[in-house]
């Protein structure tokens, strides 16, 4: 299985990936205003699948200007896919988590379920949009547009196992420069193995990521308890009425039999 490794220690924040993404996916430019920094918008949108977030901060007196490429993780165990009531989200054979346009009704369950808050609903169009890992390039033997365009080689696409090894090697190398560096998810198999993983140079929380990459407790509660209950309880009620109908009619026949 292939995967994408985003090495933020190499990202120079040039945003070529953002333009390449819009170009390949034929997404329109959005009307933006100055946000107070170079970051173009606060968050990804239905028309912006990937966003470079900019962070200016100081660590131990050292000025830092860090970048984070926000996009879909393409989880092996994808909460969005499980949450989708319309079975509109699925894995392609290349491992991309994508959305079937026709089936999607824009209910937003996926976004709420996602541990990383990635899916975005176009409320006019009533469809969910997010990074597709350029599945339509993968199908044709090409790599995702962002990885293709990334000059410093911060976005790598290839054999996931090999990239994971590259990532571990890089982590060891950058620890000196970035003591807080970590792989994210830290566990290769977290979330069923994410199609996209990062080398972060700050703690995950710094970027607004959950400390640990895992399904949300509320999502598990909903998906594994409440939703089955939703089928079991009314089912039981229905079953009970059927049984009751039978037993009552038996009783009635018997009583009528008595009467004869």
């Amino acid at each position: 299985m292939n995967g994408m490794f985003i090495d933020t220690s190499l990202c120079v924040g040039c945003r070529g990936c953002m333009t390449a993404c819009k170009s390949w996916n034929e997404l329109p430019g959005e009307k933006t205003t100055f946000t107070g920094s170079l970051q173009s918008m606060p968050d990804t949108t239905p028309k912006t699948y990937t966003l470079i977030k900019f962070y200016e901060h100081e660590e131990n007196g050292r000025l830092r200007f860090d970048f984070f490429k926000q996009q879909c993780f393409h989880c092996g165990d994808a909460a969005c896919e499980k949450a989708c009531p319309e079975d509109a989200i699925y894995h392609t054979k290349e491992g991309a988590v994508v959305r079937n346009y026709e089936r999607c009704i824009g209910c937003d369950y996926c976004q709420k379920a996602c541990p990383f808050n990635i899916p975005r609903i176009d409320t006019q169009e009533k469809k969910m949009h997010k990074c597709t890992l350029c599945f339509d390039r993968l199908e044709n033997g090409e790599i995702p547009a962002c990885a293709q365009t990334c000059s410093p080689g911060a976005i790598k696409y290839g054999n996931r196992d090999e990239l994971w090894e590259v990532a571990q090697k890089r982590l060891a190398e950058v620890k000196k420069e970035y003591p807080k560096a970590n792989l994210y998810p830290s566990d290769k198999n977290a979330l069923g193995g994410t199609g996209v993983f990062y080398l972060l140079i700050n703690e995950p929380e710094f970027y607004g990521l959950p400390a640990e990459a895992k399904l949300k407790t509320t999502f598990s509660l909903w998906h594994d308890v409440v939703r089955p209950l939703g089928k079991i309880v009314p089912g039981l009620a229905l079953g009970a009425t059927v049984i009751a109908a039978v037993t009552n009619s038996v009783k009635k026949q018997r009583e009528e039999g008595h009467g004869e």
Binding site: Y109, T218, L229, K231, P234, A237, L238, T241, A244
Partner: protein
């Protein structure tokens, strides 16, 4: 030919039927997200997006139904709620008998008031469900504006409200439409009157208070087992 006893006034009947209508519109349009076997019904609502609109319109109805009823007859609704929420430990015994009877057995109950414990539980569950539907539904209505965490909790709340109200509703429908013992109650919700015989057997405490007493037929006193029901 037995006499009829007045049980549900117009407000209650309006409330009941309007609520049911909206509830089922909501249940069906909502259940599209749960059960694929209902898919054939979708075109009726104009597909998924039509169903979402119907769901929202019906939601407004569901919210307004008890509110309007309350405005029409605040006392009736208030008293009903107060009655339904008044419980004592021995009330729970009712359910043992109920289950037996539900499946055709013969049960012996302690004498019941205007609403038996099962009906009271229904009112409690549906009213709590109503609240839960509204609170979680507001979040779901503007889903994009809420954080995923709040959204997820709202989804859980909405689903739980649905699960329990639906389960109870299924039982309730069966009892009112098919169950030989409780079937006669339906008439009360349709016309406002129930058979005196039924009232006497099923709601003796209430019956004793409201049974026709010469000269005092129209005068009904509030008792511990029921409350004044006007025609309104």
């Amino acid at each position: 030919m037995s006499n009829k006893i007045f049980r549900f006034n117009k407000t209650m009947r309006f409330f009941h039927w309007s609520y049911i209508t909206f509830y089922f519109l909501l249940a069906i349009t909502g259940a599209f997200l749960y059960f694929d076997f209902l898919d054939w019904l979708r075109p009726l609502f104009g597909g998924a997006q039509g169903a979402r609109i119907v769901h929202r319109v019906a939601a407004v109805g569901l919210i307004l139904s008890p509110i309007i009823s309350f405005l029409l007859n605040p006392k009736e609704i208030w008293e009903t709620l107060k009655y339904a929420y008044s419980w004592k430990a021995s009330d729970l015994k009712f359910f043992g008998g109920f289950i037996k009877e539900f499946f055709g057995g013969h049960a012996h109950y302690e004498p019941q008031g205007k609403y038996n414990q099962g009906e009271k539980l229904n009112i409690v569950l549906q009213s709590l469900g109503w609240l839960l539907f509204i609170v979680s539904g507001i979040v779901l209505w503007r889903f994009e504006d809420f954080s995923p965490e709040v959204g997820m909790i709202a989804l859980i709340g909405h689903d739980i409200a649905f699960i329990f109200t639906l389960a109870y509703a299924i039982g309730h429908i069966y009892l009112s439409l098919f169950h030989p013992v409780t079937k006669p109650a339906l008439e009360g919700m349709l016309t406002g009157y129930v058979d005196e015989e039924y009232a006497k057997n099923h709601h003796p405490l209430w019956y004793n208070e409201v049974k026709p007493v010469k000269g005092e037929a129209k005068k009904q006193a509030k008792t511990k087992s029921g409350f004044v029901t006007t025609q309104k």
